[in-house]
């Protein structure tokens, strides 16, 4: 009898069961919130807009991917500048970083699309707004380059030198493989940051997920269904991404 009780307790207190319970709390909360709405919950009301929502979803992923690649490249260039012997370049990246850290993403997108873009003669707000997102993420990318390259110790370089590796061999076999492994988790965290940030591109009428769903709710007033669906769709990308990040870190972390 007693062992049975202990066994039950062990199962209930185990990690998977605890996570199922925790998840249950949030599902219950969602059901409660839905059930307290004045209008009955009707997912079918969304159906006519499904095509738009799908394309919005894909546009979110697409623009986030562009921003990921763009900020990665720009972040790497800025990292190289911080390593320069010329003090101006380091000062330049420091000032840039401070400005970005002090700026809300929404403001950055507006400034790029409505102020900087027109001044440079372009009214393509999708391009300039996306550039705003890229620029906003760049210092975070520069930081992860700094910390990954910085974590290869002085002694490792001494060892490479002692063993007689050529410059190419050092990068090919020792530096790059370590950097790639260490870079992946923070890079994917930044990707998540970008996906969430991309929702703000709706202000420049870029037809991503947030934009498409608010368009729908403005037409059919299905706010509950629309916003819950939107929320779910963001989580469908971001949660697996963060789980995958953790897995990568466990499996390949150094």
């Amino acid at each position: 009898m007693k062992t049975n009780k202990n066994q039950l307790r062990r199962v209930l207190d185990s990690k998977p069961v605890s996570y199922i319970f925790a998840l249950g709390v949030f599902v219950l909360f969602a059901i409660l919130i839905v059930s307290r709405q004045l209008r009955p919950f009707q997912l079918s009301a969304i159906e006519p807009y499904w095509g738009n929502i799908q394309s919005g979803f894909l546009n979110t992923i697409w623009v986030s991917f562009i921003a990921l690649v763009g900020s990665l490249v720009l972040g790497f260039i800025f990292y190289l500048l911080t390593q320069s012997k010329l003090k101006f370049f380091k000062a330049f990246t420091d000032v840039f970083t401070e400005i970005i850290y002090g700026t809300p993403l929404l403001v950055m997108i507006m400034i790029m699309a409505f102020v900087v873009g027109p001044a440079l003669g372009t009214f393509n707000r999708t391009a300039t707004g996306t550039l705003g997102l890229i620029i906003y993420i760049t210092p975070y990318m520069t930081n992860i380059f700094k910390s990954t390259f910085g974590s290869i110790s002085e002694e490792q370089y001494m060892a490479m030198d002692l063993f007689g590796f050529s410059g190419y061999q050092r990068y090919r076999y020792i530096i790059i493989p370590q950097v790639v492994r260490m870079l992946m988790p923070p890079l994917m965290n930044n990707f998540s940051l970008i996906i969430k940030g991309s929702a703000l591109l709706n202000v420049i009428t870029y037809r991503e997920l947030f934009y498409e769903i608010t368009q729908m709710t403005n037409n059919n007033f299905r706010f509950v269904e629309g916003f819950l669906l939107m929320w779910g769709l963001y989580l469908i990308i971001t949660i697996p991404l963060s789980q995958f990040t953790k897995y990568i870190d466990r499996r390949y972390g150094l």
Binding site: E155, A159, L162, F163, F165, Q169, I174
Partner: protein
């Protein structure tokens, strides 16, 4: 082995080694002693050719350490923290060097790596990366790495400083057994009993100066106040 230092000084932000002179012949296991910060690591790195002194000359076994690039191929170095490449298995940590810088085929390189890892009793650990083995095993792998390159001299800079007493014993035993290989050793360590067993010459440093030197007997009958104070501290 032969070691000769001529007016060796070294400066980082300030001068940390001051005009060192030393002539050693016929000893095959030399220990550098001194409190932390006295310049032992700096000196052993200079002797191994990992860094170049600000001024002075260094000769080891008739190699001009500072100018002869070939010298490094005859040197093994074991760092305080194992300093294995963290993304490579213990075996690959060794075979990569043999394959890419010593002209061995991959098969030969793997064979040599395995032989040396076995010599240090790491038979069942060689396909793991450093973070998945104990500190003592990683340090032994690092010794195996140094050995695999078939050096004339093996330099060890506090190889046990980051290990607990049990792992320290494990690593020191491994080093002890290497004596039979007929290599020369220069090592920094704080384990005095090991110095007495293992070394046949001792160089005691303080504040970047060589204060006292001789056979390990000087540890039992120190002449200078500095060494007397040091021996009290380590005991």
């Amino acid at each position: 082995m032969k070691i000769e230092l001529k007016n060796v000084s070294h400066t980082y932000d300030v001068e940390v080694l001051h005009q060192l002179n030393l002539v050693l012949e016929k000893y095959n296991a030399v220990a550098l002693l001194g409190v932390s910060g006295s310049g032992k690591s700096t000196l052993i790195r200079l002797m191994a050719g990992l860094e170049k002194p600000t001024s002075g000359e260094i000769f080891v076994n008739d190699y001009d350490v500072i100018h002869d690039e070939d010298y490094k191929k005859h040197v093994g170095f074991v760092f305080q923290s194992h300093n294995l490449f963290p993304h490579l298995t213990l075996k690959r940590n060794i075979s990569l060097i043999l394959e890419k810088t010593r002209g061995f085929s991959l098969e030969q390189a793997n064979q040599i790596a395995e032989d040396n890892l076995k010599l240090l009793k790491l038979d069942d650990q060689m396909d793991k990366i450093p973070k998945n083995v104990s500190g003592g095993q990683a340090q032994r792998a690092s010794i195996a790495r140094a050995l695999s390159l078939n050096p004339d001299i093996i330099f060890l800079d506090e190889p046990t400083a980051s290990l607990d007493p049990i792992l320290t014993d494990e690593v020191l035993k491994a080093i002890e057994e290497l004596r039979e290989l007929g290599k020369d050793f220069v090592l920094v360590t704080h384990v005095i009993s090991f110095v007495k067993d293992f070394a046949n010459y001792v160089v005691f440093m303080e504040n970047g100066h060589i204060i006292e030197q001789g056979t390990p007997k000087i540890l039992d009958a120190p002449k200078t106040n500095e060494l007397k104070a040091f021996m009290k501290k380590v005991r």
